[in-house]
């Protein structure tokens, strides 16, 4: 234990100094929260992961303070999704530590890893709603089975969550009867019902038709304003830069640039991030 803490000290400070490069209101807020609890909500320390003999994540570290939203961008195959899955321990990393609110995922062991995962909500690119359940039961089922709530209480809670994403009137419909945007909003309601400390969003709008992206981004913006701690993989840079104070740029399994949107995306910044984003906008014409 003490060893781990000794190591975390310097790396934690390192991350903070990078935050400090662009101090704005959000960063200041999160730092006061940090001062209160004395540690970031999420710490990813030196995580590496190989899949099929290929190094997907190469010594990645990052930290998130309570209420902070960080955006992860990068070309496909750069390891963004794998990083989120490692944070969630859906894919346990080969090396390194994931610490959420002082609890190390590795130290929780196989038996308690489900409890660790409950604390983290995950939003998938292709929604992954349970096909055999209505929107309401999609939200309610984890409350009932994982948290052991009675059926009626779980359903009432599910309705509240659906209300929050503006889908109370669709509660009785099955995933096949919902549009992509509605499915993603249900999946956000499903994750939020578990009252996670952290939300991971893996390209939440990439599988959506352009006209449906707005409704999902609105819900995400509301979560951010409500103080949810989030790590989001997205290519919606125009949207993301108004919500975040730090962009992480990944390439070949490493975070090669990090900084405020202003620093990384500003004119003449010369950053790899700016180049990547300009190519994205060229492609989409925005």
């Amino acid at each position: 234990m003490s060893n781990v803490n000794l190591q975390s000290g310097p790396s934690g400070r390192d991350n903070n100094s990078q935050d400090g490069a662009g101090a704005d209101a959000g960063a200041r807020n999160s730092r006061t929260a940090n001062a209160r609890t004395g540690r970031p909500l999420l710490e990813v320390r030196n995580v590496s992961k190989s899949l099929g003999g290929k190094l997907i994540l190469d010594d990645v570290s990052l930290s998130l303070d309570k209420g902070q939203l960080k955006v992860l961008i990068g070309p496909s195959g750069s390891g963004k999704s794998t990083l989120l899955q490692c944070v969630h321990f859906l894919t346990p990393p080969d090396k390194g530590e994931v610490v959420l609110d002082g609890q190390s995922a590795r130290e929780m062991g196989q038996k308690n890893i489900c409890a660790f995962r409950q604390e983290i909500g995950m939003i998938f690119q292709d929604f992954n709603l349970f096909d055999h359940l209505t929107a309401r039961d999609n939200v309610a089922i984890a409350l009932r089975k994982v948290k052991g709530q009675p059926k009626t209480a779980a359903r009432v809670r599910a309705m509240d969550e659906l209300e929050r994403v503006g889908l109370a009137d669709k509660a009785g419909l099955y995933p096949a009867q919902l549009s992509g945007g509605q499915k993603q909003r249900v999946s956000i309601a499903r994750a939020m019902a578990m009252e996670p400390k952290l939300m991971l969003l893996d390209e939440p709008t990439s599988a959506l038709d352009p006209e449906l992206i707005g409704e999902v981004l609105n819900v995400i913006a509301n979560l951010a304003r409500g103080g949810m701690t989030m790590l989001m993989v997205t290519h919606q840079i125009g949207f993301a830069q108004h919500l975040t104070n730090e962009i992480l740029f990944m390439e070949e399994g490493r975070i090669i640039e990090r900084g405020t949107p202003g620093d990384l995306l500003g004119e003449n910044s010369g950053s790899r991030t700016a180049l990547f984003c300009s190519r994205l906008t060229e492609l989409t014409g925005r």
Partner: protein
């Protein structure tokens, strides 16, 4: 004896008795077959390696050999094993049932043969249904903190049951018809009755025609029941018949 008289006094009463016996064979064989199929199918799709090996061996043996051969072994073959075992177990002072249980009644041999054979086929449908579930469903369950068994009962099973229903129903309909093989181990079920009456009175055509009608009725009834069940379990977008 006129045709009508033969029908009313001989054939129909005999077939009705045979029908009852057929149902007594079919229903437990179907239920046990589905149960075995679910356990074996789930084990083969999601179980540990050693369990998969055992279940795969079971399926390849019971799907790979003729049912007539299996049935004959259960009824005519096992008594030899029993006698052999008795030679060794009796001197040890063990009670007789430790080897005598292998001598099966015609009825028991039929049910054992049918449910084991049916179970092997059912397990294929169940396994296919489980393997067809998208990986994302499990990922989502895992991300919400479901344990493996919670995922199986809340996510895998409800979807797999619906996906497998077509195939399992089909197999039950097969079972209704191959239950007629019980006649070779001297069970006087529907076909057994038809065969004995037909040859006794030299009226094979009528006997077997009416027997065919009985089977058709059984299958139609089962088909209707399965259709109702399918409708009851139907969920939009889960691969049921459209419209």
């Amino acid at each position: 004896m006129g045709t009508w008289e033969f029908y009313v006094t001989k054939l129909i009463p005999a077939l009705n008795q045979g029908l009852w016996l057929s149902v007594l064979i079919i229903v437990p064989s179907a239920l046990l077959g589905v149960t075995i199929g679910v356990l074996v199918g789930a084990g083969r799709a999601a179980g540990p390696g050693w369990l998969r090996t055992i279940f795969n061996a079971y399926v390849s043996i019971f799907r790979g050999t003729p049912l007539v051969v299996q049935l004959t072994m259960w009824y005519y073959g096992l008594p030899s094993v029993s006698r052999f075992l008795g030679l060794y177990l009796e001197p040890l002072g063990l009670p007789a049932f430790t080897w005598k249980f292998l001598i099966l009644s015609p009825y028991a041999a039929s049910v054992v043969a049918f449910c084991l054979c049916s179970g092997a086929y059912q397990s294929e449908y169940i396994r296919g249904a489980i393997l067809s579930i998208r990986k994302g469903q499990f990922l989502a369950a895992e991300s919400l903190g479901f344990t493996k068994s919670q995922t199986f009962w809340s996510i895998t099973a409800p979807v797999a049951i619906r996906r497998a229903l077509h195939g399992c129903g089909n197999e039950i309909i097969y079972l209704i018809k191959y239950s007629s093989l019980a006649l070779i181990v001297t069970v006087l079920e529907l076909t057994g009755r038809a065969s004995s009456l037909g040859s006794f009175y030299f009226r094979n055509l009528e006997c077997y025609l009416l027997t065919a009608v009985y089977y058709l009725a059984l299958v139609s009834l089962t088909t209707y029941g399965l259709h109702r069940l399918e409708k009851k379990l139907a969920i939009p977008g889960l691969g049921q018949a459209k419209g």
